[in-house]
Symmetry: D3
Subunit: 301 residues, 6 copies
């Protein structure tokens, strides 16, 4: 079947309802009610799947086809309740508890960034506290927004509060832009996060940075969370809270390829908002990044 | 100032914080977390205001300028909490209680249809139970959706439950399209609503229907709620739950102009979703309908 | 699962590889190399599926859910070769021979109109020569175009040549617009087709026409082919050869609902071109029309 | 050459610099600085030409190919100065004086409506005072706007002032929408214009109206000016001052086809603004209307 | 109020009619009739205001909120006459004379580049001849275009002619692309301008350049004029005369942040054309740049 | 004539049917049926011509106007048959044989990359085997796709097979992205091609590379084929097979400017797909690159 056809699972992989027999799976969480500005990420998984159909299985830099090493399927979407964020989180956490019980690695298509919080709860249940590699324009470390403790601006405050991540093994890359107070840049540094603002990434390769991060994390389990708004809106306009001066897709590739060798236990790409994605380049980019993540999973040699 | 300039209040009317001295006001409720399908109506008020700037004050059919009869301003937006629909409703109701205390008539820009429920609570506080003229592709009479009793599919179930509207003085025009069960077409008829499905509107003027409705409502207080999805998506694509086979903008004009003589106590146009409004015709239509509503308010002779 | 989520099969129906146990199936043919003007219909099936996810199972006019009467699934796409139209036709015909062997009725998402020719070949194999109800802006009865006998402008010339359809039981509705010679309007009339040009449809309901067509076709097997360009480009811009002055979606609904009682043996909606479908209303309309077709299949009472 | 190729003159007609040997010509005036709201009509001629390439030469209702009767070419664009509207008008008038000296009939692609004023000056030079058939959402009879006497809102005030048109032989169809004062609806009626507002056109064929207009104009020379905003923005969003409740493309076809038999001495389609024409349907419609005008010119039997 | 709501003044700042009590103000000039290619900048101010609503008050690099140091408001738009560029300039100059009389610094949203000429006239009235930092793809130093001396291609020829700027203290950054003659690159160099073409900016940080510029200008009063087309159209497509190979948004940030310490007496961002700004990233970028300018005003420590 | 007007030949150059008296010509091949993913390139030539109208004749870096050195015209489009790729290739080859007989250099606007194969056949007829400078995201060296030997993925396999190009004098720049097998990266290296993958181009100027290439090619005849998908989709989304991590427009300019001094005998820019080119930046970029190519032709000193 040529690439324009076929029902759009991720890369047109087999569809199954559970993770039985799988080493890794793609899945979506179609949720956007945690967003504070432009909505639309509830359609992220569907659009990323559509764009993913043009990806082919062989990766020319790693010189491998990941499907020769591991079993992968698309396990569909998590039915997170858009009207009740707490309940949505409970549904997500329970679903992930089940999906990852037998070590299947989840590659999640968001959805707004709210979803990483319950995913990390499940990750902790299975792997204990993890290292976090967090690529984003924003720190997402607010305590609450509009009196709500569960929003797309709060997942890493919650995660630290619940000891899901090790703050001294957490790295944030790409932060930039205006904010309400200095706190969203300072609080996490006080807690031990390493923060690489976008300004430190300008005009250069991020491969050297990744080398340092690999040394830092060593063999510890790592969760990789990639907010598409880390990338400059010139390349990825389809997101809810764009900030100029961001990373390039080239740097995004350097980051993910630089994860080769890490003990990745889960990955996500979040905040793709199709109604703002004129031309579809944002969803295309997200689909490519997810394939790149697949290619650096530990079992893919 | 030519029409391309000026800060975009509705029709570039004066902006004020309250309704003191006003006979009518335009205002927005930037909320979309009650939606069940495509979001985006949180940006409805801003886009409707932008498009409204090209409206001029004289209405050639009524042959009047409404501003010669009544004092009108734009009173801004209601800060409804997007993360908590119950709280959003409380904020809206309290705000409207205050806005309409001295008989100012509100012309509301939505926002998803959730907002009509708390508006009707305030309307009842001020005017008692009212007649309802409801133009929509959907009945919006579901009891709950995804376990939530407050969504954009439930406002008129809630309103009837709380006796905010008189079911025997409620008319729904434009209903059509697929549904989960027959109930969303039958329940309200059992309760006494008069339902004019879209199919009964096809290929004809709605002026005769409006004559009957004027006779039905007489001098009773009437609330007019216009969901833009009542209009066919060929004309108004920018909405969350489009259904083909809808009303034409001509029929929409006939409906609103046919309200001349009714005792209108409040009006809204809801469900305009700018991210799906390619070309801006949906927001343009909404702005024109709001101006048409202004021209048929009781004090505008 | 709310409507924004889930892998996009048609209406999120179960996916299966064959038609075993099915009374009807949806499927796509992602092909556009038969087109003579704007391409893009190869992405028609995928986009129609995406838009179909917001359709709910109950039809309020027929007052039934078709799924209570028949087994339905999405059987995926036919891998038609885009580089060789003759081979593409062979692949399609063979696939349909197999799909309809046990009487499963196919509801096909195009693809350009080329595809109806091999479908009709398979239909003839199973049902013999059929009646044809053909809704289109163009007659599609050219003998050849640019020396090619298989294009989207030739399917019904080919079909008549191969005796797949009964010309005295063929009705074309919606034809209009400029052409190279009078022949594309005259040839088929000489052969016995009944042609209702768009001009005869203007300003009126098509229900009376459908009554006559039901009488004409009686109990004979009927194939229904709906080219989305029959509908005016104001409503359905996403197609390759738009012609102004076309049918309305309301008339399209009247046509399909007017097929209730016919002995339908196959249906298609073709020529949806997503890259020209700003706002998605064309694919949305196509998805609704396909659901309407499902609701009037003979076994759905 | 298939329709997607070839340098885009109107319908890919021969290009020439003058009207020698021509019975009719297409030409453009790429001007938009007379506009009062959204600009962009300076790109109207180019986009109309692009869309016109899909028109074929035979008209199935008139059952003729106009090119069998008359010589037609595309004579390019008039270099109207965008920075000086008075000078632009002078350039246009002089150019048209030359183009029509030997009776070539001009079919003009606008540009904003300012251009009809100097065209009518040239028309008067050649034919004397003419009848005017003016299709528009607006009367365009303002005396001045922002102190400027030459804008797209003033051409027919100027034209009457200079006795270019016979007010008792002027018909305006499609007027509607809000205005600054009643004058733009009343002034011309006092002068003798026949005004058919959009409201009188709703829900019906305009063929009977055109029969009356043919009787009124008889054999007198007639200029036909068609502002694309006469058509509803649901069908033609790509224009600068859209007003809801307008004509349908079907009615536009009835108007132009109803001109068959009139002594047309010039035609234009103006106010097509490509940057607002998502999907290109407005330019497509304009190109079709221009072809329809060609088919009803006096020499085309 | 969350960021999706509220009437769109710049950053939803208070609106006032004059500059009384203000240290700085945002304002718009909705004008595009000085443009030579694509129009649309008349809607620049409105769209920039819409996008600015998502900016928050704290700047993480400067580590300040400018509103803690200075009083700022949005003072609306200047009613420049689109039909008469000379009169438009007179209106703008007079308005700025008044606005800046008491040292309020204007941050102007264009509008096409024509507007900087009358602004500089007012600036000279108040501050005398100034240094000019001019970021642009084009030199804008043509003497006249189409016989017009006031267009968006002539402001700096006019400004030098009238001695509004010191040519030896004028720096132009980002110039590139084709032109009619060498003069638009050479004339200003002969006059003493320092010109940094885009090619000299490729592949590097502009911070070192800004250091030199700060040394050059010292404490002299500086006007900063930023034409958005300086930035590459991949990032900022929404402008009238795009040229490939331009600056990046990162370089734009480096330029503006590098102005910290300069004696800025006025700033503008011009040539944002919303009808060409698919996705809104151009207006978003302009709004961010204006906020960045606010943060480096002299009184903001 | 200002840039918004005039019939859109390339840069509004004179149009002629042959290359008599020409040193160079622009022409289009409106073909897209060789594509394997998104179609639309059949409209590439028309859209590139539209965008080219804003280019002016003087190049500020080379400091020349090419039109002072050579005669150039637009010779229209080649009528390649979209239904038969072999026949399309035959038509193209024959047409080019004729066009280049007297040494006119062709600057071709594609069309998909299929077209370079028959162009190279004609080039060989005239110049013998040539050096190839091939800029692309893909190697286009597949032997066949879907059983078709002539597609946009096979031109350089065919070209080598037929000895049209010298493999030891072939350079490919910009290759990247997923593929079916390693072969499309390895096969050509075995044959002697020099391949510079995109990863080797990241974060740096390509001027040093071009210096080496000039040394390599010396005075040998060189054909330059530029697939627009070599450029990152953030800058050029309007193409059929976008791959992230590509070249920047700045690097594209460096490549073409770096060809100054080469013995260029033909050039093309292919794979511009207007229906995916939101905002038109891709076609704009293509038009600029074609002008840049013109400026480095051997006769332009």
């Amino acid at each position: 079947m040529h690439r324009s056809g076929g029902i759009a699972s991720f890369m047109r992989l087999p569809i199954q309802n559970n993770t039985q027999g799988l080493d890794a799976c793609f899945l979506g969480i179609p949720l956007d009610t945690g967003t504070s500005n432009r909505p639309g990420t509830r359609f992220g998984p569907r659009q990323i799947r559509c764009e993913s159909t043009s990806i082919r299985p062989f990766h020319p830099i790693h010189r491998i086809s990941p499907f020769n090493f591991i079993n992968v399927a698309d396990v569909g979407d998590v039915p997170a309740n858009p009207y009740n964020l707490q309940e949505a989180c409970d549904i997500i956490r329970e679903k992930y508890n089940e999906l990852i019980r037998d070590n299947c690695i989840t590659l999640t298509m968001g959805g707004d960034h709210t979803i990483t919080y319950p995913i990390l709860q499940a990750i902790k249940n299975r792997y204990g506290r993890v290292c976090l590699l967090h690529i984003d324009a924003h720190g997402d470390v607010t305590n609450s927004y509009q009196d709500s403790k569960i929003t797309h601006g709060t997942p890493f405050y919650r995660s630290l509060e619940e000891d899901l991540i090790d703050p001294t093994q957490t790295v944030q890359i790409g932060l930039r832009g205006s904010c309400h107070t200095a706190e969203v840049y300072d609080w996490q540094i006080e807690k031990g996060f390493e923060v690489i603002p976008a300004e430190e990434c300008w005009h250069k390769s991020l491969s050297p940075l990744m080398k340092k991060i690999r040394q830092k994390f060593g063999d510890l389990p790592v969760y990789l969370s990639f907010d598409i708004d880390a990338i400059d809106p010139g390349f990825c306009p389809g997101t809810g809270t764009p900030e100029i001066g961001g990373l390039t897709p080239i740097q995004a590739l350097e980051i993910i390829r630089g994860c080769k060798g890490l003990n990745l236990v889960g990955c996500d790409v979040v905040e793709v908002s199709p109604p703002y994605d004129f031309g579809g380049t944002t969803a295309l980019t997200a689909s490519h990044l997810l394939f790149e993540m697949l290619c650096v999973l530990p079992k893919v040699k």
